[in-house]
């Protein structure tokens, strides 16, 4: 590789890195808001963002993997040994090439890393920024049950009923060991543990049923620690909520929003 | 194997030694098995039995090892000092997480000291510090005398160092005992947990250091000294001394 071409390649790589950095800084840094400062805006569903980013990352790593694998396979075929005493004929690299072959790939990889970080961070923002009008449910986990407490005091066990169309935020803690509230369908989990309060939120749009499973090893019956998220149409939910409150002898405070 | 191998082996003398195996078995029975018998399966008798096997094995192993190796085997001649440097790096990183845990617990605590704590004595730790620092100086002096070729002087100052180290340990025991009587034990609260774990960890290092010195003193009585070993041992002792500054400042005076 001639010197000039090397420098051109280097500067291209540098540019790519820089643009990755700038993207990270510009779009993400300015948008990153800690949980406390909720900005009202249209609810963006992190689950959809997950599927999108997952797909992008899969394409990204598949390309990288295939490039390396094909190159290796080609070399294996092209340079297979033809006679017993044949030896390889690679020459030592010049100083320029040593540096070039280290820095250029490094910058290309770094550019990809920053690109991925930027996207990951953006999505992470969605995951951590709870929409304002969420239904807030308290969760206390224990070996081996999920105990939910609604704003009006209604309690349920292993069954979280929520209205369709309203985001739900769980404030979680644990009575004994660490557990992890995992709802595969909403692409979200977060640990709950004694002595700390953690949170997660998700956005149930359509009525339906979803599995909740424990995703942190918590003892012998870890695999038997599961429940359901039941998403109900708004009116049905309200009716259930009220009936349940009456049943559990709770003075009804008006529902959330 | 070929003739060559035998001739060769004869020249250098293959090192065959039972002591590493003996020490390993000793460690296994003395600590893990004994601990488990006592604390997990609540069988103190078996625990004592297990230690009764392990402790003699360890002592035998160390004595045998020192006797074999004190003349210095050709390979490690002179490298012991550098190796001790690597080992001290590892040792420092045993203490660091202990301190880190203590700092996290302390800095995130609502009120400190937590309920159940007692007023930490101030005088005793100061005396202990003086004792330990002087022992660092005496071992330095012993080393210097050894360099100058005086084995007798080396012996004297080494013995002084050991005396100081022993004094330090006895004072720790006194100190612990005193705290126990005030109702401050390892399971009182997070502070006591950190306090006894860290001072205990440090004390065990003093103990090991004394063991190393014993391994120098006994052959030195017969006039045999391995200089690399002495330099490494004294480096270790200085390290134990420095760690004490952290322990004492964090535990007693903060």
């Amino acid at each position: 590789m001639g010197g000039n071409r090397l420098y051109r390649a280097l500067s291209t790589a540098l540019l790519a890195t820089a643009s990755g950095l700038v993207r990270a800084a510009e779009e993400e840094l300015s948008e990153f808001v800690p949980y406390e400062k909720i900005v009202p805006r249209e609810i963006e569903d992190p689950a959809a963002g997950f599927d999108h980013l997952w797909y992008e990352v899969m394409v990204d790593i598949t390309i990288i993997g295939v490039v390396f694998a094909l190159l290796a396979l080609y070399f294996l075929y092209r340079y297979r040994r033809r006679s017993e005493d044949e030896e390889g004929s690679q020459k030592p690299l010049s100083r320029l090439n040593i540096i070039g072959w280290a820095l250029i790939p490094a910058f290309v990889f770094m550019a990809d890393d920053f690109f991925l970080s930027a996207n990951g961070w953006q999505l992470y923002d969605l995951y951590r920024r709870v929409p304002e009008n969420s239904l807030e449910v308290k969760l206390e986990s224990a070996m081996w049950t999920w105990d939910y407490t609604y704003p009006n005091g209604v309690k349920t066990y292993n069954e979280l009923r929520v209205p369709a169309g309203q985001p739900v935020v769980l404030r979680m803690t644990s009575r004994d060991t660490i557990h992890s509230h995992f709802i595969p369908d909403f692409r979200i989990k977060e640990d709950s543990m004694p002595g700390r309060v953690t949170y997660l939120w998700f956005y149930p749009k359509e009525p339906g049923e979803h599995v909740v499973s424990c995703a942190e090893y918590c003892g012998q019956l870890h695999s038997r620690m599961y429940g359901k998220v039941i998403v109900m149409p708004r009116e049905e939910f309200d009716a259930w909520y009220q009936a349940e409150a009456d049943k559990q002898n709770i003075k009804l405070t008006k529902l959330g929003d | 194997m070929s003739n060559h191998a035998e001739v060769h082996a004869h020249e250098h003398g293959p090192i065959l030694t039972p002591w590493p195996l003996v020490i390993s078995i000793g460690i296994l029975t003395m600590i893990p098995l004994a601990f488990m018998f006592n604390f997990v399966y609540h069988n103190p008798f078996a625990a004592i039995l297990s230690m009764g096997i392990g402790i003699p094995l360890c002592i035998m192993g160390v004595i045998g090892w020192v006797r074999e190796a004190i003349g210095g085997d050709e390979l490690s001649q002179g490298l012991g000092f550098g190796a001790m440097g690597w080992f001290i790096l590892a040792e420092a990183l045993i203490f660091l997480p202990g301190f880190a845990t203590y700092w996290v617990l302390r800095l995130s605590a609502v009120d400190w000291p937590p309920p159940g704590s007692v007023d930490m004595p101030k005088l005793m730790p100061a005396i202990m510090t003086v004792v330990l620092v002087s022992s660092s100086l005496t071992i330095h002096r012993a080393e210097g005398l050894l360099e100058a070729g005086s084995i007798a002087g080396f012996r004297k100052w080494l013995a002084a160092t050991m005396l100081l180290g022993l004094t330090f340990l006895l004072m720790s025991v006194y100190e612990w005992n005193h705290l126990f009587h005030e109702g401050f034990t390892i399971d009182t609260n997070v502070f006591s947990s950190s306090f006894f774990s860290l001072t205990g960890l440090h004390g065990s290092h003093v103990f090991v250091g004394l063991g190393m010195f014993l391994g120098m003193l006994v052959p030195a009585m017969a006039g045999r000294v391995n200089k690399t070993y002495v330099r490494a041992g004294s480096l270790y002792w200085h390290f134990v001394d420095i760690i004490w500054f952290f322990v004492v400042s964090q535990m007693y005076y903060w």
């Binding site: 993997g65 690679q90 695999s223 | 550098g82 590892a90």
Partner: protein, 528 residues
């Protein structure tokens, strides 16, 4: 043959290495059997071969702990390092042969403790991660876990002190740092990591036993303790530990590939200083990627997402050198080479599937699902084991003076190679697509996972057959293999210039002299 006494009282680095090999393969076999039991249990939903979840948890505990601490780390930094490093640097032995013997016997004591799992009442059931508060309240024997880790860790620290000193000070005259074999470099780096990080693990596991048995309160929130401290300490070691595995196995793969391609390492300096050096520098700053779904503060999760992704740069440089070494080579495909090449492909899959894991928002879904075992079995279990097996085949003529059977070698390789993909690829799919969590004895709530589990169990059966062939081949080679030539692969590297097997004590008649133009990878220069 040497007498039994010469084996158990030995301080010779080659014998110590082989002792490490025997011990670690024993751990591998037992941990592999536990894996087969687990696979049998998971074949169908609900209880299959045991209706006691405790059995499953014990198998899984033993499998994870023994495979990492009892098999891979000792096989790589015990067997391969002991056998190869002194030979590759032209030394007569390691710096402290007696301490070396102490290391290997402490390792055996650790293995004995680990195996007690199957003997004692209330075996440990804390998984290889041992998270409190569960590990401090379980009826299981957490002390056994603590002491197993402590003994194996202590053996590692002593090994580290020994090898760092050996490599730094005992190289043959004229053997500069830039002429070291890749494997020696990688061992050097791995032991630096061990020395820095093992003590942290030791402290962490000690604290849980103190909490459980002596009543301290480090991890007990009701009295001011904090459960997350342990996880931070644990992963502060256990992430670097994966590079303690990765580095030596990539190192041996480099040596094998250079030998069988009879070629120089492509961009040796970038691989050593950028690749290995970069990994050592970054290894300690990424542990939080194992705590993405705990309550860690957001800023640190995002920060360590970036550092974790940056690890792809040094590893990528190593890959460029690996693939580049094939360029203009003269490649032949004996069994060790097949294993080494397979490592490149499997490690590509395993490493690249770590990339989505590093991205914090994606981990929120896949963490603690079967995607994770999928990722790490590829990158560690399979790539690491293949590198170890390749290394054993590569050194087979060296340490036994005999040849294994080439046909059986290739047969065993292909069966296991297909088998591992059949078991570990579906694992990743079932993790993301179905959301099947790991460490489950029963997965009745995920019926969609069952077909995948059929495949995985079938794959595990294939691996068992494949490994049986491999084992049979080695036994055949040891007992009845044809005599091996001194340098069957035509390697230029120092370890092949001595006799096979090398002299019992001291390796060489005379310590080799390193000439000006010599290097372990100087092929194609005409000189033989």
């Amino acid at each position: 043959m040497s007498t039994l006494k010469e084996w158990i009282f030995t301080t010779d680095h080659k014998k110590v290495g082989l002792l490490y090999l025997i011990g670690s393969l024993a751990a591998f076999a037992v941990a592999g059997m536990s894996a087969l039991m687990m696979r049998a249990e998971l074949t169908s939903m609900g209880p299959t071969i045991t209706d006691n979840p405790g059995d499953y948890n014990t198998w899984l505990y033993f499998h994870g702990a023994a495979m990492i601490l009892g098999f891979q780390i000792p096989a790589l930094t015990g067997f391969l390092a002991n056998y190869l490093v002194p030979l590759q640097i032209g030394a007569k032995d390691v710096a402290f042969p007696r301490i070396n013997a102490l290391s290997v016997w402490l390792f055996y004591m650790g293995i004995i403790l680990a195996l007690l799992t199957f003997v004692v009442p209330d075996p440990p059931d804390v998984m290889w991660t041992g998270y409190p508060p569960y590990s401090t309240i379980t009826f299981g024997n957490t002390a056994l876990y603590t002491f197993t880790v402590l003994l194996l860790g202590f053996a590692s620290i002593l090994g580290g002190v020994n090898f760092l000193t050996t490599i730094a000070f005992m190289r043959a005259p004229g053997l500069g740092w830039n002429k070291l074999n890749m494997f020696t470099w990688c061992t050097f780096a791995a032991f630096i990591l061990q020395l820095i990080f093992v003590p942290v693990l030791g402290t962490a596991v000690t604290l849980i036993s103190l909490d459980k048995y002596l009543g301290t309160h480090f991890f007990d929130p009701s009295t001011g303790g904090d459960v997350l401290i342990y996880q931070n300490l644990f992963w502060f070691y256990s992430h670097p530990a994966v590079y303690v595995i990765l580095l030596p196995f990539i190192g041996i793969v480099f040596d094998i590939i250079a030998t069988f391609a009879r070629n120089r390492i492509f961009n040796y300096k970038a691989a050593v200083y950028g690749g290995i050096g970069g990994i050592v520098l970054l290894a300690g700053e990424v542990w939080v990627h194992h705590l993405y779904v705990t309550g860690m503060p957001d800023w640190i999760r995002v920060g360590q997402m970036v550092t974790t992704l940056l690890i792809s740069i040094p590893v990528g440089l190593l890959f460029i050198s690996l693939v580049g070494t094939l360029y203009k080579g003269s490649i032949s495909f004996e069994t060790p080479m097949l294993y080494a090449l397979a490592v490149v492909f499997l490690m590509l899959i395993g490493g690249l599937t770590g990339i989505p894991l590093a991205i914090v928002s994606l981990t929120l879904h896949v963490s603690d699902t079967y995607y994770i075992p999928g990722h790490f079995h590829y990158v560690m279990a399979v790539a690491g084991t293949f590198a170890i097996f390749g290394g054993i085949y590569y050194l087979f003529p060296k340490f036994s003076g005999r040849m294994y059977n080439e046909f059986l070698g290739k047969l065993g390789f292909w069966i296991t190679f297909v088998g591992v993909n059949v078991i570990f690829f579906p694992m990743m799919i079932v993790g993301v697509v179905v959301g099947m969590p790991r460490r489950y004895w029963d997965y009745s709530q995920f019926p969609a996972a069952e077909p995948y589990h059929h495949w995985m169990t079938a794959g595990a059966g294939m691996i068992a057959i494949g490994f049986t062939i491999v084992l049979a081949n080695w036994i055949y080679g040891l007992v009845a293999g044809p005599k091996a030539p001194g340098n069957p692969w035509g390697s230029r590297s120092l370890e092949w210039t001595t006799t096979s097997p090398p002299l019992d004590h001291g390796n060489w008649e005379e310590v080799p002299k390193i000439e000006e133009g010599w290097g372990p990878y100087e092929y194609g220069t005409g000189k033989a």
